[in-house]
Symmetry: C2
Subunit: 341 residues, 2 copies
DNA sequence: TTGTATGCGTTATCAC
DNA sequence: GTGATAACGCATACAA
């Protein structure tokens, strides 16, 4: 009885004197099975400590009821919040999640996708790594009949559902708020420019500068400096210039942290000598001194939307989906770092 | 050819005019397959865009080469770092990870375990939720032949490998350091006392107080106040007392954040009026003002060790493992919040 | 070296 | 309502 192997529907069937297939139907709430039997089957299954074997079912069904998620880092609030949103929706639909980190590496991202293909996930939700240059791995997934949904960091040359923020608009607003505070010499610290998200943030920046009739500070535009360390490295030379920027609009909070590091070293005080704006509203943004003005991306909502897209437009559909881009409104959180009082 | 279904070893075999089982062996680097054939098989497999189907293999093998991880929150540095350590080891061993969050809820934790059982994971690594009262779910896993390894937050009444910090010793050291700074009236903010981890931190606290011949401040000991909010709620009444504590030793950085909130509201300044020590060395600990003294748990190492335990003592072993507790040394990070200068 | 046969646990189809 | 049967894709014991 309590042997070394797990109970199967066969065991349940035998105990009950009915057929395995009938047990299967009962367990799956098939309409052709009466209430009484179903209850009895479930009871017996519990009693035998029967557990559904997903692998067998997946093999048979050809789908896994599992969604793969690939993000750069699970410990950045933006991503972990997005995952929470995804989790919520998937959980409600009885799907499980396999979460992978790319650690911003293209190679690891590729391996993650590979693993997810092996695991036969029904869909892949991805926010691309900083390093990611090509959509080759995403095409691989598609080739293997796995739809891909991109969120936040999307590759422009790969068609898929995309869920992003109103990056340009909110960046425009943020830079305008800097200008309103009297900052005039505003620098831009960006991300990898092949990712549309960062392009758009730059566009918003430029639009605001332009609209204020300020000269576009091309020598104050640095791209591809996402991390804290890279932010510091990018800010350092800028802040050493004789005619240095009096504010920095940065596309990530971690990057902003780097700017703060540089400013501290150079004895430049924020916000009086240097205005600073981040992006993402990471946990620490309100905790640093001065508190960091930033953009709340409504990432839970964003993740939720990405998952819903799967269930509404792909799940149980025949074809690969149309492509569409969903925009999630974000919101400024103006704190001390951008307020010159 | 490019039909709707994915290629299988049958397709590869047919193309090559050999048998499927031989293809399987070739793909798995079975020694009985010659170099030449193996290369040809792999080439053809690539060409047909063949992808190994884990579900089928798992079903056949009866094991999934997948490890399940359950943690309260993936966005707390301690846990995400531990996961990085686990990931590293598993990746090297060609195992994949399924990560679940309990969100500190016992119910969700139970569901996560349930899912992992369905998924037939080979082992479960868990750090228990704050709410978790019983090891029933862990026993469930064991009943289904899935070994469990606990890390950090372990249940005392469930036998398993455990990987923990030297909680008592380091807490003792931390409290001693507070005493050395001249604090005398030290309060303790704890976690759920049924979790040994938190018990031990309390023991360390008491040992240090005791050793300094200070009276044990029983009315200054609050348990079960883990989050920022709960930390604030616990600190508030303490700090309002006429004879209030002049320092707080807290078992979590988030909790410490709550103390800072309370102190700010009451106009109590840290560290001059109130010393503060946290636990975990979260990202924000060095970013807040004043910077937070805390304990670096070496969580990457801790996660790595937990995963290694699986591979060294359970993987490919016959029996359920012996139980053993591994201790990872932690380290104080003394910053401003506990330095009275 | 190579191939054959079998079964992992489930579910879908079909027949009763 | 109920049950027999086949098939999902792979890996292994065994035979050749």
């Amino acid at each position: 009885m309590n042997s070394r192997k797990r109970a199967t529907i066969y065991d349940v069937a035998k105990e009950l004197g009915i057929s395995p297939s009938y047990v299967s139907k009962a367990l799956n709430n098939h309409p052709s099975v009466g209430d009484l039997i179903r209850r009895r089957v479930k009871e017996k299954a519990d009693q035998l400590n029967y557990k559904h074997n997903s692998h067998a079912a997946n093999l048979r069904r050809g789908q896994s009821r599992t969604i793969g998620v690939v993000v750069p880092h699970i410990n950045q609030s933006f991503f972990s919040d997005a995952i929470s949103g995804i989790e919520e929706v998937c959980f409600a639909r009885n799907h499980s999640l396999v979460i992978c980190q790319s650690h911003e590496s293209y190679e690891k991202e590729g391996k993650a996708i590979e693993t997810l293909i092996h695991q036969n996930v029904d869909c892949i939700l991805i926010s691309n790594a900083e390093e990611t240059i090509s959509a080759h791995h995403l095409r691989q997934a598609n080739k293997n009949k796995i739809p891909v949904i991109q969120f936040d960091r999307c590759l422009d040359d790969f068609d898929s559902f995309k869920v992003v923020n109103d990056n340009k608009a909110v960046s425009y607003e943020a830079v305008r708020s800097l200008i309103r505070e009297g900052y005039r010499n505003i620098a831009f610290l960006g991300g990898p420019s092949r990712v549309k998200t960062f392009q758009e943030r730059k566009e918003g920046f430029i639009a605001a500068i332009d609209e204020a009739n300020l000269p576009i500070p091309y020598n104050f535009i640095v791209e591809n400096a996402l991390s804290r360390e890279r932010g510091r490295q990018a800010a350092m030379p800028l802040l050493k210039l004789p005619n240095r920027p009096d504010a920095i609009f940065s596309v990530s909070d971690y990057q902003s942290l780097g700017v703060m590091d540089a400013a501290a070293v150079l004895g430049i005080s924020i916000p009086s000598d240097l205005g600073l704006f981040g992006f993402a509203d990471e946990t620490f943004a309100q905790l640093v001194t001065p508190s960091l003005s930033t953009i709340d991306q409504h990432s839970v909502e964003l993740g939720r939307k990405a998952a819903e897209l799967y269930f509404q437009h792909i799940y149980q559909q025949e074809q690969m989906p149309e492509t569409e881009t969903i925009v999630i409104a974000s919101e400024m959180r103006i704190r001390q770092s951008s307020r010159r009082q």
